[in-house]
């Protein structure tokens, strides 16, 4: 096993312990995730990258409590996850399908708060703050389908932020938006993370994105998935699309993660010798 960076071993807010997931199909079973162990400290921004088909979405669904693990456990704030836990919000890749099209932007953001029985005045405050934070204050009475893809994903982020989660899970949230919107949204998420002190677990297939956003990048092997290696991102906390991406250290880290993902693709696994 790779050594976890200091501070994540004992005091992890989110603990993924030996998670295994086997899909039982008709007559055959597919082992998607073999043995995943990692922790995310309170307030940390961790990214997960892996080759496509590495079971990233499976892992995220297990962590979110949407899918039961075959083995191992996920522990959030000391409690074992058996269903979607209260302190967690998820932003899905398919923004168009995760917003309720029959509700306005405002109603979408407000709904989870209503479910949590947040009083009306506080609800309004939270919704307004969250929509302003993602720059959608003007669009609150629109329906999601009246907005562009990037704006729809902003609504989903606003909904997650208004929910005041302790952990924010993001499943390839920017995979379906264009490059410029993507850069804007990356900075938005970094901003919100710094301002709110929320713990973020960000799944992506984009190596640059993982290095640019995270404090730590967890690289997965190919399926059946294990953790291949964890890379600490020692870039300055202040990230900037131009300055950070042209930083020599960024290039080094990027190259390192890139190499790891290439290794993962070719079937390299930890403990099988250096490739």
């Amino acid at each position: 096993m790779t050594a976890a960076p200091a501070g994540t071993a004992g005091t992890a807010l989110l603990d993924v312990r030996h998670v295994r997931k086997v899909y039982e199909g008709a007559g055959r079973s597919v082992e998607a995730v073999r043995d995943l162990t990692f922790g995310v400290a309170a307030g940390e921004f961790a990214c997960i990258v892996g080759p496509s088909g590495a079971g990233k979405t499976t892992l995220l669904k297990c962590v979110a409590g949407l899918l039961g693990c075959t083995g191992g456990e996920v522990v959030l704030e000391g409690a074992r996850v058996t269903g979607p836990p209260p302190g967690m919000a998820v932003v899905f890749q398919e923004y168009g399908r995760s917003l309720f099209p029959w509700m306005t932007v405002r109603q979408n953001v407000e709904l989870p708060l209503k479910e949590r029985r947040v009083p009306k005045a506080r609800r309004r405050e939270l919704v307004d703050e969250a929509l302003d934070a993602v720059g959608l204050g003007e669009a609150r009475h629109a329906h999601p389908w009246q907005l562009s893809g990037g704006m729809q994903q902003r609504v989903a982020i606003a909904r997650a932020v208004a929910y005041e989660p302790h952990v924010l899970l993001m499943d390839e949230p920017f995979a379906a938006v264009d490059a410029q919107t993507r850069a804007d949204l990356e900075d938005l998420v970094r901003d919100l993370w710094k301002r709110l002190g929320v713990t973020v677990l960000f799944v992506t297939h984009d190596i640059d994105e993982s290095v640019y956003l995270g404090q730590r990048v967890i690289v997965l092997s190919n399926s059946p998935t294990v953790v291949l290696e964890e890379v600490a991102v020692d870039l300055p906390a202040e990230r900037d699309q131009l300055a950070t991406r042209s930083d020599p250290r960024f290039a080094e880290l990027r190259a390192r993660v890139y190499k790891l993902v290439q290794q993962a693709k070719s079937g390299h696994r930890p403990g099988t010798g250096d490739a």
């Binding site: 669904k61 979110a64 409590g65 949407l66 269903g83 979607p84 209260p86 967690m88 919000a89 998820v90 899905f92 398919e94 399908r97 995760s98 917003l99 309720f100 099209p101 029959w102 509700m103 709904l111 989870p112 209503k114 479910e115 949590r116 329906h143 389908w145 009246q146 909904r159 929910y163």
Partner: protein
């Protein structure tokens, strides 16, 4: 421009009905055929036939039974449909039976229903329900099955309570299909309203039309048929009004998807 557009739409909407009425009028103008009286004679009998007592005695009870049966069918169809659509085992268990019952034409049930529901209002409402419930039920099942998985995951993540999940996710999500079923059910309902009144009834539009026919009051019989058509048109317009209001989001969503 918009006034002109409105005029255009009205012209398009009314062109064919106007042509048909004109054709009917002209073709029957000099008719001496007992069974095909001139349209002028039929229209002349309309007011006398329906608006001097029969409206409250026959039309309102008919429409009342239709609405009662229709609404009951909606409630049953949507209630059962959401349950069957949500639970896989229930679906596997019930689907063959549902197809069987759906295939039975409701009119043949009338004599059977009379055996245990009598010949009163209850029987007539039951006949309407027995026909209207199927399109609503089957469309609701399809609608619930087709609910987006990501939306379901979202609802779970944000811990939506069962009741609001049902209202805000299941019902709203399936509403386009429910509306499609409800639209089919409405026309079936009108047919069954008439049929249920032809067997054993003392009032109603269907009953009155049969009475006229048996009494060789042919122009009056024709007015009844026209009245049935008009009831259908009015109910369908009302339905469209409610539908377009409830499915504004759906129309907009589809429009935005078409634009790409």
């Amino acid at each position: 421009m918009s006034a002109l557009g409105l005029l255009r739409r009205a012209a398009l909407l009314l062109a064919v009905p106007a042509l048909l009425v004109a054709a009917w009028w002209l073709l029957t103008a000099g008719s001496t055929d007992f069974f095909w009286p001139p349209l002028s004679q039929i229209l002349g009998a309309f007011d006398d036939t329906w608006f001097h007592g029969r409206f409250t005695r026959d039309v309102l009870p008919s429409v009342g039974r239709l609405l009662a049966g229709y609404l009951l069918a909606l409630v049953i169809g949507v209630g059962l449909g959401t349950a069957i659509g949500s639970v896989r085992t229930l679906r596997a268990l019930l689907e063959p039976v549902l197809e069987f019952f759906r295939a039975i034409p409701p009119p043949v049930l009338v004599p059977i229903l009379m055996l245990f529901a009598g010949i009163g209002t209850g029987m007539k409402i039951l006949v309407i329900v027995s026909g209207c419930v199927w399109p609503v039920l089957l469309n609701t099942v399809e609608g619930v099955r087709a609910l987006d998985e990501v939306l379901g995951d979202t609802a779970r993540c944000y811990r939506m309570r069962p009741h609001s999940r049902y209202v805000h996710l299941v019902l709203r999500g399936a509403s386009p299909q429910i509306a499609a079923g409800a639209r089919q059910a409405l026309s079936i309902g009108i047919i069954l309203m008439v049929i249920s009144e032809m067997f054993a009834a003392g009032d109603g539009v269907g009953f009155t039309i049969v009475q006229f026919q048996r009494g060789f009051a042919i122009p009056q019989m024709w007015t009844g048929i026209i009245l049935l058509g008009l009831i259908g048109v009015v109910l369908s317009l009302l339905f469209q009004l409610v539908e377009s209001w409830a499915l504004r989001w759906y129309t907009g969503l589809r429009g935005s998807e078409r634009e790409g």
